[in-house]
């Protein structure tokens, strides 16, 4: 509806309310019969998909996620399998929810001095702002697992440990929400990977 329409004085028939009610009823009725017809066609097997329904049947059909959607965190690894994290505490510092807990340990090598003994993320506090990903100088933490279901029965269940974070794998096929974007070239690889 045009925003300016509400400043127009209503006509007599509009003020009687009934024609407008009828218009609305016709609109919803049209949707009802259209969808009922498609429902009927689908139930006798003529048509497989629901044209009218805009909902996803969640557990069976997943909604496509946007490639840049921030999902569950993971810690990346170096080629030798050790975590990329150098326990610099940047993410812990920048985190507005203060949900990251890092305990740093020392490494014998000179090039990489520290590694995380403990790296916990309390999902119960996390606001999924992605600041940790932005702040990390080593590209050690990412939010690209594609995992959206992490409900738990208690607060303890919401605690992600270092081992769990390392075990997550990135979601490879970032199926897009819009098919027209699939034709696009893949985004340029990150500097650390190049």
């Amino acid at each position: 509806m045009n925003v300016h329409d509400k400043y127009k004085p209503l006509t007599f028939w509009e003020r009687t309310y009934l024609p407008r009610i009828w218009d609305g009823l016709v609109l919803t009725m049209r949707h009802f019969f259209f969808n009922l017809w498609h429902f009927f066609l689908a139930s006798i097997g003529v048509q497989r998909e629901w044209k009218g329904a805009v909902t996803y049947q969640y557990p069976e059909v997943r909604r496509p996620i946007w490639p840049r959607l921030r999902t569950l965190h993971r810690l990346t690894k170096r080629e030798d399998g050790t975590p990329r994290c150098v326990a610099c505490m940047m993410c812990e510092t920048v985190c507005p929810a203060k949900c990251i807990y890092i305990v740093a340990g020392e490494r014998p090598e000179k090039q990489i001095e520290k590694y995380p003994l403990q790296f916990d993320i309390d999902l119960g506090k996390c606001v999924f702002c992605g600041y940790c990903v932005e702040a990390c100088p080593e590209d050690a933490i990412r939010m690209d697992t594609g995992i959206l279901e992490f409900a738990a029965y208690g607060r303890n269940g919401m605690l992600l440990t270092k081992e769990m974070l390392l075990s997550f794998v990135p979601k490879k096929e970032h199926y897009t929400a819009r098919p027209d974007l699939e034709a696009r070239p893949a985004p340029a690889p990150r500097l650390s990977e190049a």
Partner: protein, 359 residues
């Protein structure tokens, strides 16, 4: 003795089978129809042995959930009234069905049984008397919960229901003037006549304005959208805020039973009740000269099917309204009831009376 058995069978059939199954089915219809209207799929998760049946098992799942949920009674609540209130609400909603005729006369073993639980001469007056009592269940429940929000909801409900009680009472007087009786069975029989030899003489032809007014006020009586200011389950706090589990379920079912009741009365008064066009007690008699003789049992079944079909269409329409219109603001509800519907209903009476008197 046989009279008692016949009445018991009629109660069993009409109230316990027809009304309750319709009301239970409405919980599913409401979810599914709203889904279709809003381009969704709707309830379809409940399944038994992999069988989903378009979500029909949600009726069982919902009622099971209602029974198994915690039955909570707030501290300081009036125990007896808190227990009774939903029951009172439902009792009066069901009791009103006693006077609804759902078919003509069925002859069993030489005795004629009127297909109406109680063949009352006061008919429509009895229905309105019981309907207006339903407000007690609401108000007592609201007061007994010992919760100020629910008390406010109850006051809102009683103000609305009693205001529309006036409108609904006045809006049918036109029909009573046309048919010259308050006996519902007589009103339905009168609607079986043909106008000009082909048009069924239904009440809506004589009282189109009356139909509109009655239907609107009837919707308000059911406390459903667009007149759901007393309830407003999730947005504004209603009279049943403290009711949990099956106590809430009874209130919820009462609403649906009242919806069925309003549909039944509207059908009876305005849409010819159990009358099927061109179906007389002897069988079909079409205006173009063709006639088809049918047995008494067949005619009765057809009449009941006609009645059910009309009720179903009206219920569908009420659901359509419920999922199309937004809720009225509370002062709008009052203004509509007192300033628009009631004067229109009075005008309708004057015009109808004048036409009957002078034409």
């Amino acid at each position: 003795m046989s009279e008692i058995i016949a009445t018991a069978l009629k109660i069993l059939f009409f109230v316990l089978v027809f009304v309750f199954s319709t009301a239970a089915l409405l919980t599913w219809v409401e979810r599914k129809q709203s889904a279709l209207m809003q381009d969704r799929v709707g309830a379809n998760r409940a399944k038994i042995f992999g069988l989903r049946l378009w979500g029909l098992f949600h009726i069982i799942a919902d009622s099971l959930k209602m029974f198994l949920k915690e039955d909570f009674r707030p501290q300081g609540a009036e125990k007896l009234l808190f227990l009774l209130a939903p029951g009172i609400s439902m009792f009066f909603a069901i009791a009103a069905f006693a006077a609804i005729p759902f078919a003509d006369v069925l002859v069993v073993g030489g005795t004629a049984h009127v297909m109406q639980i109680a063949a009352l001469d006061v008919g429509i007056l009895y229905v309105f008397a019981t309907m207006s009592m339903a407000v007690y269940g609401v108000v007592l429940g609201a007061w007994a919960s010992n919760n100020n929000y629910s008390l406010m909801g109850g006051l809102r409900a009683s103000a609305q229901m009693i205001s529309y009680e006036v409108g609904i009472g006045v809006s049918i007087i036109g029909v009573l003037l046309v048919f010259q009786t308050v006996n519902l069975q007589e009103i339905v029989r009168a609607q079986g006549a043909l106008l000009g030899g082909w048009l069924p003489k239904w009440g809506i032809l004589y009282q189109p304005i009356g139909f509109l007014l009655f239907f609107t006020t009837g919707l308000a009586e059911t406390k459903r959208i667009p007149f759901d200011a007393p309830e407003g389950e999730s947005e504004i706090i209603g009279y049943h805020v403290e009711f949990t589990s099956m106590r809430f379920g009874v209130y919820f079912l009462t609403d649906l039973i009242e919806t069925v009741l309003i549909a039944c009365i509207t059908v009876t008064l305005f849409l010819g009740g159990w009358q099927v066009p061109y179906l007389t007690a002897a069988g079909f008699e079409f205006p173009w000269g063709v006639s088809l003789a049918l047995s008494n049992l067949t005619v009765t079944v057809l009449q009941f099917l006609g009645f059910s079909l009309k009720v179903a269409v009206l219920l569908w329409f009420m659901m359509l309204i419920r999922w199309t219109l937004p809720r009225f603001r509370y002062d709008q509800v009052m203004a509509l009831g007192w300033k628009i519907l009631l004067p229109l209903a009075l005008l309708n009476i004057f015009v109808t009376a004048a036409i009957i008197l002078f034409v």
